[in-house]
Structures are given as structure tokens and as C-alpha cells.
Symmetry: C2
Subunit: 358 residues, 2 copies
DNA sequence: TAGATTTTTGGCTTCGTTGACAAAAATGGC
DNA sequence: GCCATTTTTGTCAACGAAGCCAAAAATCTA
């Protein structure tokens, strides 16, 4: 009996391997069912790790799946489940470096899974952006969405996602949502670290180029920075605080503006690396030497920080790790894991060559 | 009759709008068929722009599609067509900036279409990379693949794509494939431009940091460069040519190596912006002033070029436009458009502040 | 060991679309 | 106005999986 069974299986395998090898489509659940001599429903159960399958059956089916190199068709599954295996990265971050790092992290987490990362840039200055978001969700039924700042802070988008009943993870510097939907960064702490570093080097006149006021991170980084200054008995002089747009160009402008003030600061804390890079240019244009004439601290530690001269001292956010954590959270939650605490990423000061003792 | 028809339609629409509004799933082809009083096959024909539909019918159906906000389900279509609406970007380019720019370009072309961009980093140092590629194609049945250098140059990957019968576009500095599958960049010409610029500024001792010899672009850029030097009666001194890996770190090393030579060049042409950035660091470490002591030319014009000090003179490749063209080519070819000539992108020298008269 | 109970398995339908082919409608020629 | 052609439209079965519920097998109980 057992021999006969095995023989049947062997010949079944051979036949299918030959047929599929000639390009007659892929191996499907039906092929597995036929060869394994079970119903396709049972194969489906094995694929989906249903606990209602006898271990013996499961092993048998799995062996045949492996032998035939069967991979379930994501489109067919999506149709039946009314949910695809796409995970969208919805972003509007002005720093391309930030976005690439995050992509990497997400892809790290997808290793060995069937999820695919799709890119969804989101231009919130465009009036239709919410409608587009909704159409995308309706049409493509993504498994989930990952939102880094600043789209993560948009409550209108959050509402759309909830209304459309799609899973999501928001990465932000404040707790915007419940733990199952949040990854948090301790930007406040990062700002404080920047301040402590500069005051420890003896700086007393420290300027700040912060991001747009509509970003939560702007306030967190600045408050943290002020908190750090206060520890050294210092206050942020209001006219030493200039707003930028988290972009390189805005950093150039902001840097120039600071230099036009009556008293020149000896150090600048920029709200992100892009603006810090811009401030380098402004300082150089004014003929200053770095870091002799001015210490500069950035935020994020995107790849450009290490490529500048002098290499930029910056507050490192583990962006790639955050991306990975966000993707993993999405997967874990879908598996029914209960999340009780928001994951918090604490930044770390990376001291390079752009800061020095005064 | 006409009135009656309209009335029926109106009530049908109302009914469906109400039902779907309550979240009972999306509007499907069946709803359209029912309301329009045609078969779903006819609706399908309208969606797919079949020429065998009477204009009157087409307009009628399209009006109802619009009214109900119907969008076809990509998963169901994919299942029936055995081909998804995903387009994969397969990349291994060491410069993250290059990759982001290309992503943007591809997304530009997808505007208003149903295509989604999925990211497929490809690590060719890993032994399984071809098998993974094959599995991805088999499983997800992408509509097409876009391959920038250097994966584009991999003939083993090209074979897999052809065997699996998936459409693709290869972006390369040489003509690797037929016009329907190729986007070409005139790297040779770019190299020549760099040489002409430097010789015109009076430089006679010019070094070259080139990319890995396994990249076609390395040879094209170098040959073009030598060609340009020859126009000025110069030759590339073999020990003034150093190999890098198209990465920042390799640029630092290569720069240092050049400075260790008996005679110091007065200008460097780096094979890409990343390595040019690395050479800045090596030169600065050696105490040189830029551009006074050394002129530097890069290649690509990735965002970092404009962020450096001095801003990098570089040979601009319109990466974003190339990405857009590649995506558009994929779409056009799928629509049956015949391509007789390979699209060639000719680079343009962007003169900034890193080069000066000697 | 028969019957009750629990565990496993299977059958049939559904998801939303397209393909092959058949049927109906429109058009043309006489 | 009738028949042959050509357009246009419709029917029904895929595509490859999962859901619901019933059937079969295994296990337990007395």
C-alpha cells in the first residue's frame, strides 16, 4: 500500500515537473492536491498553517510542495482574501536620503516573506491627495501602509486609512496612535543631546535652524534642544532660531540669515542633515572655516553626513532599523500579536569633525 | 423608451451608490453591466479599449463607470491575464542617489496608470540571486522589469527574463539588447566632455578614478575621457588611472592613492559623483584647497553634487528622465508600439565650482 | 463494541476579471 | 424585403486560491 502510494506520487511528480518545465504555466494548488492525493482545500490549509491538519498530512503535503517548487499565486490569494500582499510606503519626506534608508529597512523585514514594497509618494500640496490615497487603497487593497514623517502626522490620511480599514504604521516623534500603529522616535532626547554636546564644548552662543512649524519633529527637536541648553543655564535667543523647510536650499538661506545677525553664534544646531549641509554652504560663502569658526550639528545621520568635509556631527536616527521595525510591526499585528507598548527609537549622537571646543 | 431607460439607470445607480457607500465592497464590473444594461463582457471591452464596441455603447458604459467611480480590480485582472500590474525596479547601483532619482522618473511615467512600482534590490554577490529573480517572476508575474546599470549588464539575468517571458528594459552605456528593451546613455561622450572641459581650462596632468572594470560604463567613460584628452594632444598616464568601486569610500582611497604618486595631477575626473565626493575628502585630508589646488569633475549629477563645497562640476546624466523613458518604453511596447531605434541620452556637462583655470 | 464526540478532510461556491466561441444585430446588395 | 456579410454583443467557463458547511475519519465513552 505504502509502496503503491509512493509510486503514484513519484509518477505524478514526474509528469507535472515535465509539463511545467515545458512552460505550461505554474504549479498550482490543484497539482499539489492531485499528487498528494488530498483535496485542494487541505493544501490550502497547509499553506495557511491551519492548525486543523494532521501533522502527518501536513508533512506529506509540504514535502510535495517543496518537491514541485510550488509557490502560491499572490493574485489569486488577493482576490479570494480581498487583500493584496503589497505594502505601501507613503512618503513626502523632503530628504531623499531618509527615504532610501527607510526603504532598505522595510525590505530587510520582507526578506523571506511574500510581501512586496510599493512606493507611494504623496504630495500634500495637491488638493486631490486624499482622494488618490483612497482610490489606491480601494483598488489595490494593500496589506498595509507605512508612513514616515511628515505624512505620518496627517490626521486626514489616518482617517482615510481607518475608514478604508487598511492596516498601517505611523512613524513619528510623538505618540499619534495606539501601539499597534506606532513607531516613535525620541526626537526631544536627540535635541537635548545636541545641546549637551555643544555646551560641553564650551559654546554659549548657539543658533538653531529648525524645520517647518507644521512638523511635530520640529517642535520636539527644538524643545529638547532648549531643554539641553537650560541644563547648562542657557536660553535659546529667539533671533538665533530660524525656520527652514528641512531642505538643502532652505538650509543655505537660513545659514545666511543667521550670519546677518548682529552677533554671530559659534555653533549651529540644524534640524536635519539636509539643512546642516545647506548651512555649510552659507558659512563657506561667508568665508568661514569649519569647524574653526563655527561648529555645526545635524540630525538624522543620513549618508551625506559622513560624506561632507568636515564630516558632520549629527544626531543619529536609526532610520533603516525603524523601517524594519515598522514593517515587522505590520506583519506581527496581522498575525494577531498584541502590542501593548509603543516601540521607541532613541537617537544617538555621532561625533564627527564639524564640532570643536571653543 | 429613452426616458424609461434613464430612469432605470438612475435608480440602479442610486441603489448601488447606497450599497457601496455602506461598505459592501467595491463597485465591480457586474454592477456596471447591470446598470448599463449590457453584459459584463462588453464592460470589459470598454475597460480594455477594445475597438469592437459601438461608440454609442462605449460612451454610455464609460459614463456609468465614471458615475459609479468604478476602478477595475488589478488582482482579478492579473489572475485572468496571468500578468500583474507591478513593474519591478531591479537594482544594485552602489549610489543611493542614483536609485532615488530613477524611482522618481519611473513614478512620473506611472502617473495616471494602474501600474505600481515595486522595489527589487538585487545582490549579485549572493549565489541565489538568479533563482530569487526567477521565483519573483514566476510568483508575481510582473508586467515588466526595469534594470539600471549594473544589473542591466548581467546576461544571466537577461536570460532568465527572456526564459520567463517577462518584458523588460535595460538601461546601459552600450547597446546590449534590441531597441524595444534598451535605453542607452552616451557615457563615452560624457567622458569626452569632462576631458575637454579640463583641457580647455589648461590642465595637462589629469588623473582618472574609474569604476570597477566589470562595469561597461567604466570602460565607456574612460575611453571617452581618453578620446577627449587625445583631442588636446594628451594621453592618460597609466599610473594616473586608479580603480574605485563607484562608492564614496573607494573614492577616498583612490584619491589618497593618487596623491601618493611622484607627480601630483592638477585635476581629477572621477567616474561618478560618489567617488568624486570621496576624493574631496582625500584631498582635504592632504591639506589641499579646492578648487585652487585641484580641479575635480564627477559623473551623474546626483543631488549630492550641488550640495558639496565647492559645488561639483559634473557630467549630468538625466537619471530621472531616463527612468521615465524606461517605464514609458515598457508601456509603449506592451501597447504594441514598434520601436526601431534605441533611445540615447546624451549627458551634459554641468560646470559648477570644483574646476578652475590652472 | 456501538454510539457520541471530536478531529480532519472534502465539495462546492465565490472573488472580479478575461478568453473562446456563439448568438444577435446591423449593414449591404440585389 | 430577403439573404449573405460584417459588426457587435452575450454566454459560459476559466484563472488560482479561500470560505462555508457538510461528510468522513479518528477518538472517546460506557
Amino acid at each position: 500500500m505504502s509502496d503503491e502510494l509512493n509510486e503514484n506520487i513519484s509518477s505524478g511528480i514526474e509528469e507535472i515537473v515535465q509539463a511545467k518545465g515545458r512552460g505550461s504555466g505554474n504549479v498550482t494548488i490543484n497539482d499539489i492536491a492531485r499528487v498528494a492525493n488530498v483535496s485542494k482545500k487541505t493544501v490550502s490549509r497547509v499553506i495557511n498553517q491551519s492548525p486543523f491538519v494532521k501533522p502527518k498530512t501536513r508533512d506529506h503535503v509540504q514535502a510535495i510542495i517543496k518537491e514541485l517548487g510550488f509557490v502560491p499565486d499572490p493574485q489569486a490569494r488577493a482576490l479570494a482574501l480581498r487583500k493584496s500582499f503589497l505594502i505601501g510606503l507613503v512618503y513626502d519626506n523632503p530628504s531623499p536620503q531618509y527615504v532610501v534608508s527607510m526603504q532598505r529597512g522595510i525590505l530587510d523585514a520582507f526578506e523571506g516573506t511574500d510581501f512586496q514594497l510599493v512606493l507611494r509618494p504623496c504630495d500634500r500640496s495637491e488638493p486631490e491627495y486624499l482622494a488618490r490615497m483612497e482610490t489606491f487603497i480601494k483598488q489595490h487593497k494593500p496589506f498595509g501602509l507605512i508612513l514616515p514623517p511628515s505624512v505620518s502626522e496627517d490626521e486626514a490620511i489616518a482617517k482615510v486609512m481607518r475608514d478604508q480599514n487598511v492596516d498601517y504604521v505611523r512613524i513619528a516623534s510623538v505618540e499619534l496612535d495606539d501601539p499597534a500603529h506606532s513607531i516613535r522616535t525620541a526626537d526631544f532626547e536627540g535635541g537635548a543631546q545636541a545641546a549637551r554636546h555643544l555646551t560641553a564644548l564650551g559654546h554659549r552662543h548657539i543658533a538653531h535652524i529648525h524645520g517647518p512649524l507644521s512638523f511635530r519633529s520640529t517642535h520636539e527637536r527644538r524643545s529638547g534642544f532648549e531643554h539641553g541648553l537650560a541644563e547648562a543655564g542657557l536660553k535659546l535667543n529667539p533671533n538665533m532660531a530660524v525656520e527652514g523647510g528641512y531642505t538643502f536650499d532652505s538650509g543655505v538661506v537660513a545659514g545666511a540669515e543667521l550670519l546677518s545677525r548682529a552677533t554671530r553664534p559659534t555653533a549651529i544646531f540644524a534640524g536635519n542633515d539636509e539643512m546642516a549641509t545647506g548651512s555649510y554652504v552659507a558659512l563657506r560663502k561667508a568665508g568661514l572655516s569649519l569647524p574653526e569658526d563655527m561648529s555645526v550639528v545635524g540630525f538624522d545621520d543620513t549618508p551625506i553626513a559622513g560624506r561632507l568635509w568636515p564630516a558632520l556631527t549629527t544626531v543619529r536616527l536609526p532610520i533603516r532599523e525603524m523601517g524594519k521595525a515598522a514593517a515587522q510591526l505590520l506583519i506581527d499585528v496581522s498575525h494577531g500579536k498584541k502590542i501593548t507598548e509603543v516601540a521607541i527609537f532613541v537617537p544617538e549622537l555621532i561625533v564627527r569633525d564639524s564640532t570643536q571646543q571653543i
